[in-house]
Subunit: 204 residues, 4 copies
DNA sequence: GGATAACCGAGACGGTACGTCCGGTCTTACC
DNA sequence: GGTAAGACCGGACGTACCGTCTCGGTTATCC
């Protein structure tokens, strides 16, 4: 099994699976309850009924614990990254996906831990790299694939830089979320429409 | 002059201006040197040659200090918000502005303190509100005004929601910066072009 | 007017008598309420409705304030030191006096401030000296005089060292008080009897 | 072995003996150097090379630390309370003992820490109780025993209250010490003589 | 199936920083 | 010019966690 950010040195085979999942669950609970800044390794250990050393043995920081917790949260269904819906109508598909994303961010467990992870990434380049490769990367692949499909179908410009295109659609939502701006279905719909149609006025 | 996030309770008239600026300068220096997580109130006080109480008297947290420090940094020139260049060619103007923004983020003092502030905002709704009103708001006004001018000149669609339009252009840059992605002039140019032209393929 | 331990530098004539007595009263109240270790100059100033500087201007420490407060407490009646009763029966007179002393120590104002003063004296030789000259000295004179009178009347040995004699009678009470031992009329009576008669068995 | 004033809650078995003795030694050194009022927990921790929490884990206050330090100082020889010399001549024996006591109080380590302890006892009834049971009690037993022996030998009155007798002899010394009066061998000899013979004049 | 090595809970340890309280000095405005 | 008010620098308080460490007590493979 893949493991997120665990240290490799100790003998992973001997690892107590119960402790591991108790720690990840405690971390998610606590971050939702008290917020990331007040999340402490000691608190996680106490809540999980685990010695502090058991955490430090496997993770270098509370951020790494939370990272694995988020990974586990995402992997629960089947372990497959899945793909975005493709009905042939890109605008409609994107609107559905973004509405779902916005709804997901209403779950305080998810919101709090994502917020925490984003925070940690801002100050920890190594964690940022792991995030890019293990969490954001696969998601981004999925998004890019949907756009590429639309491109092949002639819905999108042939000369489009898909990296930029992905950002154009998803960054406004992420940015508004991170700044606690109002995040509604109306807003995400408007973003999709504007991104696809462009800001520029059409002549004639 | 208005002041950023100082508590209003104590008698602001009696305030020692020298201590205030020493504290703000020390905060900026330290956050650039050791990063936000290792920035401490104690450290700021020591560097500024000030008692800890003098900080706690006027600010509730290290985040608030940094907020005021950033405000002071921005106000240095003249206190006027200024406006974006307007040559009549929106795409060109935006490219110039975004290239300048990217360059500004290369200054470690600015980068580190903005990163710190973004972090704090993620977990402190009250600070987020102050940020929106005192720092981001004025900047956003300036951006919206430039777009409105282009709209009036017929460069942009008449039915455009300018809030969405602002996000479409600036959010990708902010998002990539916060995730430590590569932030080049080529990228910002591509964002401007894609946002203005739209992702959708033109028929005929 | 005598003043206990006030600094002499400032112009005492301009002194605000109301502030002075408010400070002394506040000190006595507070020491009885919260105990000496938690008595603070700031607290006294607040209770007395006085600026801190007004205290520091006239007294060097909270101990000195309390010292003056005790002096004022003792001087209230007439300012005269008075003398011990002298009925011609030393034992009876002493028992009356000591019972009165024990009763006085039941007043928490008096008990707490005396306890505080004793404490301060233990660590501050200068204050100890002032205490010996201004508070304990006069009292001791009075005690010694009563014993000298008994000596002249033939009740006490002619070769007696009266300093030792005073200690023999009063030190046990003071010592037991300071160690919070049980302080009863029975005990003080027993001390008087034992001190006068001596511990040694009489022969024949 | 019993221990002085340590809190019982934490697991005493896991206690680091080196830290404990380093703390006690540091406390004795510091109180002799800077005096009790300037003795700080922080200072003790620094001098002992110990974290502050290690002190707060086991003692509730600097006074309690000093108490244990004094206990340890007293227990060094053998842990036995010992007894007072008994040559059959009570007066001579007492004079020897009191001269030794006075000399002991010349050691600034002992003087300063005893002074500190006395101070703390004045304001902390619980500490006073511990003192009475663990330090003063055993000493007092020893003194009472010596007097009882003299009583049995016919040197002292048969009807004597030994508690009062102990105070009559030792309280004057303790009291004079606490008030920083002159404490000489001549004085202690005079106290013994006066206490044994009594103040009252013997009739021809 | 007994040895042995790692994990595990618990928690003491040396530290750092917290946010508060107060000491003693200095400044300002009022009277 | 004395006073009430209170900001200021400094420093100790007692607490919370950090990350390391040591202690017995379970596992759980490997001889």
């Amino acid at each position: 099994m893949v493991c997120g950010m665990t240290r490799q040195a100790p003998d992973a085979a001997r690892r107590n699976a119960g402790s591991r999942s108790a720690i990840l669950a405690a971390a998610l609970d606590l971050v939702a309850e008290v917020g990331y800044p007040k999340l402490t390794v000691e608190g996680i250990a106490a809540r999980a009924g685990v010695g502090k050393q058991t955490i430090y043995r496997w993770w270098p920081s509370k951020g790494a614990v939370l990272f694995d917790a988020l990974l586990a949260l995402g992997e629960t269904p089947d372990g497959q990254p899945g793909s975005l819906p493709d009905t042939g109508d890109l605008a409609a598909d994107l609107k559905v996906v973004l509405r779902a994303t916005v709804e997901e961010l209403d779950d305080p467990r998810y919101d709090a831990s994502m917020r925490a992870l984003s925070t940690e990434i801002m100050h920890d380049p190594e964690l940022a790299d792991r995030y890019a490769r293990r969490l954001d990367g696969p998601l981004r692949d999925v998004k890019r694939e949907r756009l590429r499909s639309a491109q092949r179908a002639g819905e999108l410009r042939a000369d489009l830089d898909l990296e930029v295109a992905v950002d154009l659609i998803w960054a406004p939502i992420a940015h508004r979320w991170s700044q606690r701006g109002p995040l509604t279905a109306g807003y995400t719909d408007a973003v999709v429409d504007a991104a696809l149609a462009g800001l520029r006025r059409r002549r004639g």
